[in-house]
Amino acid sequence: MEERDDLIVNESYALNAKHSEEEGVTIRKKIWMVTAILAVLTIVEIFMGVFFKRNGTFMWETIKLGFIILTLVKAAYIVLIFMHLGDERKNLKYVLLLPYSLFMLYLIFIGLYEGLAVQGLHTFLG
């Protein structure tokens, strides 16, 4: 039978799995790496937030999009590395991430779209 990596990807986080000292060194190196990335991204966000004035221009809209992308990158690092969901089996990973992402995308769309419609109504009725 062909090897199915979607069935057993990695058992190194199983209940009885122990990490050796060498494995520990590798994992810690990765942790510090991610720490540095998260710190740098947060500093970049602060600078973007402080130096760009808020207004309705294309520039600010782009900055806002940048914030959201940086946030998603940070979230991905936390979930996949710190919570080591990236090391879990694919079936667990997708059973958690896919339904949640789909539902949230829908909720964000409908929430903001309806919000704007209500604002339009307020403006229209004075």
Partner: protein
């Protein structure tokens, strides 16, 4: 982290006797709980987005509302929140190091890193308490005007231009004057506006006993204090005029007197509570601040308690006896989730 891939067909995997997800029941349930909790926070942030998009009035700007630091005066936009974010990220790192130590059965390592995680959590909670206290207390307060009015204003860069207010628009006090005004209102002192000054005359009270005590004659002397009258427009919002953004516009002299004289009676607000707030026309702004950061703080509080319990268990050698440190991993998942939520709150409540 070498994965040893085995060939197992689906029937065997889902046929019972082993975990199809390759994780224990406890960890899986923690993940499911986190997914449902993530829906709660997602729902809250979308509700915030809905109200903000539905509002026709300008929404407060995070860097103008949150710019204070403890023990320091002056404006440090978003610095305090950034420090809080760092504290939480660092405590997330110490937590992942505790989990890593657990996988090597390193009891000392687990105790050290978990202890630091608890400490980080407590520091974050303390910071949030200060932030709440500052938000509730406010930075000077403000009032609404009872008629359309046009005044001359000066920008922080020294540019002068006239600005028009509608009925019900907000005018803010600078910090020192605002707090003196608040104190005077609380004590029923006489407040007069004349010659570009606010004159506060206080009689018959000292700082200690003004709850119906009869004071001796030595307390009954009137004290008069004068403050330069200076008011601020657009303290928490930005207004775009001819392609340029204007905030923190200063109004002084006769124009400021004109604003004080058009004050809507009892419209003076200091800080924020569940009924009114000085930051925004929209009360939902304060309510969402209280609810979202409060609900997150509640999670941090739970996390600190759970971490502390597991810390004591590790100290007593419970996991050493059990043969694995999976409990550290489970509470670690919850703790990282708390950090994750803060990353989103930070972006959507403070930055954007």
């Amino acid at each position: 982290m070498s994965g040893h891939a085995q060939a197992v067909d689906t029937k065997t995997l889902w046929g019972g006797g082993q975990s199809p997800f390759g994780i224990s029941y406890g960890k899986m349930m923690m993940w499911y709980f986190l997914a449902s909790d993530a829906l709660t926070f997602g729902g809250l942030l979308v509700a915030y987005g809905f109200i903000r998009h539905a509002s026709a009035d300008p929404w407060p700007v995070g860097e103008q509302v949150f710019q204070a630091l403890p023990f320091l005066s002056g404006a440090y936009p978003l610095i305090y929140v950034a420090i809080m974010t760092f504290i939480l990220i660092v405590s997330s790192v110490t937590m992942v190091l505790a989990v890593e130590a657990g996988h090597r059965m390193d009891k000392k390592g687990v105790i050290k890193w978990l202890g630091l995680t608890v400490l980080g959590g407590l520091i974050f909670l303390g910071s949030q308490a200060w932030e709440w206290a500052h938000f509730i207390h406010g930075s000077g307060g403000g009032f609404q005007v009872n008629q359309p009015i046009t005044v001359n204003t000066t920008s922080p860069e020294g540019e002068t231009l006239p600005m028009s207010l509608k009925t019900g628009d907000w005018v803010h006090f600078p910090s020192e004057l605002g707090h003196a005004y608040e104190h005077a209102l609380e004590h029923g002192d006489k407040i007069e506006v004349r010659n570009g000054k606010v004159v506060i005359t206080s009689t018959a009270h000292d700082n200690h006993g003004h709850h119906g005590h009869t004071h001796g004659a030595e307390h009954a002397t009137a004290t008069v204090k004068e403050y330069d009258l200076e008011l601020i427009l657009n303290k928490y919002v930005l207004e775009r005029i001819d392609g340029k953004d204007y905030a923190n516009m200063k109004v002084t002299g006769a124009d400021a007197e004109k604003l004080m004289n058009s004050m809507v009676e009892h419209s003076v607000v200091f800080g924020a509570n569940m009924k009114k707030n000085e930051y925004a026309v929209q009360q939902q702004y304060a309510n969402f601040f209280f609810f979202i950061t409060g609900f997150h703080g509640f999670h941090v509080c739970q996390g600190v308690i759970i971490n502390l319990v597991v810390f004591i268990m590790a100290l007593k050698g419970v996991f050493e006896k059990r043969g694995h440190y999976e409990m550290v991993e489970k509470v670690g998942l919850f703790w990282h989730f708390v950090d994750l939520v803060w990353v989103f709150v930070f972006t959507f409540f403070y930055l954007i």
